[in-house]
Symmetry: C2
């Protein structure tokens, strides 16, 4: 039977129809009052989503490019950065920092294990020459969400960098209130926009560090960005991905119109329903069973089932695109993304399809049991009618 395509991966994620449609608008020039109006609004609205009054620089690049912007602009070669590594992205920031000649203090945890902020505080205390500390908010590779409030407290004396690529707009992140200096994000996750834009919010303390940094840079230079933003209307130093910014403008308006606190609450429910659905069909969660994990839900593929065939079959037979495991978890886990434009029935469809796919492969389950568990989460909550 024909099945619709349902993108349930942790990024890129589906975009609302209004945002999609705006991708077909004619290209306008980026040095015009018309674009300036869009860019002014999107910058102000991004601050509301990032919960910061700091400048947020938009780069035409993926989230990895935006993280590179942070590394190039805050450090000088030889500087010391603490990195929490509890997944594929933590691992990536370790490699990137080393590629740029930083000395990396690595706090390594098994995949799926949250960072221990007491250990973070200890590492900060025992490295008085530390310049900055970085942690992933939502580790896409495992679904685990780190306690960033505690991380920011533990790293108060240094520049705090948070990779919120898949987390921003899905998981609670109170940038200024918690004292996070730098937040890195991307357009293609909970911001409900096609991939192509990366963001870096930069506190005054981080901007001061930038001014002392000697790392070579040009495309991602904060000073060039700051100068272009100071124009009236604000601009980017180089030609930006105009159509994606116009789409982002609509997506961010949609987030603010739902209400950021409602958006956080919706993601908590989506995650809770996904976890209950997984457990209800007799599978085992990967990572902690807690409401913080509101962006991505990861679960073990049951014994005797080929993980890659399961994920491939969900797509081919049911039209549902979830993600497999990365790195050491390849073939062992699968991941349901629900950061962004997702509702209750996306989760229900995914659990239903997973039940059918597992049954077809001989896994012993009762159809509808996982779905029922997910439904109960939504029916119990006041937030979803």
């Amino acid at each position: 039977m024909m099945n619709k395509y349902r993108l349930m991966s942790p990024g890129p994620t589906p975009v609302p129809p209004e945002v999609s449609a705006a991708g077909a608008l004619p290209i306008i020039h980026h040095r015009t009052p018309e674009f300036g109006e869009v860019f002014t609004r999107v910058n102000e609205n991004l601050q509301r989503v990032f919960l910061t009054e700091a400048d947020i620089f938009t780069f035409s690049a993926s989230g990895t490019g935006a993280f590179e912007a942070a590394v190039q602009n805050l450090f000088s070669p030889g500087d010391k950065m603490l990195v929490v590594n509890n997944g594929n992205f933590g691992e990536r920031w370790v490699k990137m920092g080393r590629a740029f000649g930083l000395e990396i203090v690595e706090l390594k945890y098994d995949w799926g294990v949250k960072a221990d902020n007491d250990e973070v505080a200890e590492a900060v205390a025992s490295n008085p020459d530390l310049k900055a500390a970085a942690c992933v908010l939502s580790e896409t590779s495992t679904g685990t969400v780190n306690d960033i409030k505690g991380f920011a407290e533990a790293t108060r004396d240094v520049i705090t960098i948070v990779d919120a690529v898949s987390g921003l707009g899905a998981c609670e992140l109170r940038t200024d209130e918690w004292g996070v200096d730098v937040v890195v994000a991307g357009s293609q996750k909970a911001l409900m926009t096609p991939p192509g834009l990366g963001f870096v919010s930069v506190s005054e303390r981080a901007m001061a560090a930038h001014e002392e940094s000697t790392m070579p840079r040009y495309y991602f230079d904060f000073t060039a960005a700051k100068k272009a933003y100071a124009k009236n209307p604000p601009q980017t130093p180089w030609t930006p991905a105009v159509s994606v910014i116009i789409q982002l403008d609509l997506a961010v308006q949609q987030i603010l119109s739902e209400g950021l606190e409602n958006v956080f609450e919706r993601h908590v429910l989506l995650g809770r329903a996904a976890r209950e659905g997984i457990k209800g069909m007799g599978l085992t969660l990967f990572g902690p069973d807690e409401d913080m994990n509101s962006a991505v839900t990861a679960a073990y593929v049951p014994e005797g089932i080929d993980g890659k065939a399961f994920v491939g079959g969900l797509f081919r037979e049911h039209g549902i695109q979830v993600a497999g495991g990365q790195g050491p978890q390849e073939g062992k886990i699968f991941r349901i993304g629900h950061c962004g434009y997702f509702d209750a029935y996306d989760i229900i469809a995914t659990i239903a399809a997973a039940e059918l796919a597992l049954e077809a492969q001989g896994f012993d389950l009762e159809l509808g049991k996982g779905v029922g568990a997910a439904q109960r989460v939504f029916s119990k909550s006041g937030a979803v009618a």
Copy 2:
């Protein structure tokens, strides 16, 4: 009266309606056979447009980002690069090279003056430790096109880098035949695609230089790109701007379906018509009056007319977005972009509007004279019916 919006700037440029429409397609995942099919085709088709058999790496970034990729991947700090600087982009590559600690041998010409390839050859001969030489194909700031065939001959002993951001697909560039090692381009000019993608083609000799280079890099790393391209189907190392790549796929098919040689010829005619139109209305061209200048046409704003007001009025009163001058030419010249999705009547409309705008500001001209001169170019050619 209502006027349609006509984007006549040298970038971003308008995109064909089919390419526009594809921007509204649902986002698909970038690690799927479906995306792999698109990416395989677009890579092969790009080689036909670049006229090279070399790998072409696609980065989610502007053209400036793609140039940074070249700088980061080919050099080590302290390496020597020759840069032809005869406009805003030549100037930019000088600054970027210095930002990355390169020693720059700068061959500086006045804006609008073409590089002298005898002088290039002399500079190569007198700098035996030169690693590479860079030149802009079409200098967007002035409309001047450099003789890249001669440049590649003069720099045969070193790595030849060509910035073809506004030139590729508009001006003749025979990468492999002329011996160009590295071509940098962007999606938003003659490739008729929204901004957001940068390209770097890398010859075997350039790839060998990359392997020796010690410049820190991560996001733009050729080795990471090469590794991802070697997968089946080919991939990008980081999440690409999926929707823009899907648009690019259609745009490049359209270029090949018109025929690359026809595309070159169309641009020659567009440029010739623009120049004749400019002269026909009594204005003076900026830069040489020659068929090579097929991507952008620049002209002096007549004495006594405010250049910024003229460009602003063309947009506000006539809906036609041309560009003003940059740097030392700010307010003194205006630039008509015609690299990409442009036809005869785009040029005619632009000349007609410029005539009306100049007449309204008291400039003495005969309406239709410039238009007639442009028309004659098209009627004389066999290529445009």
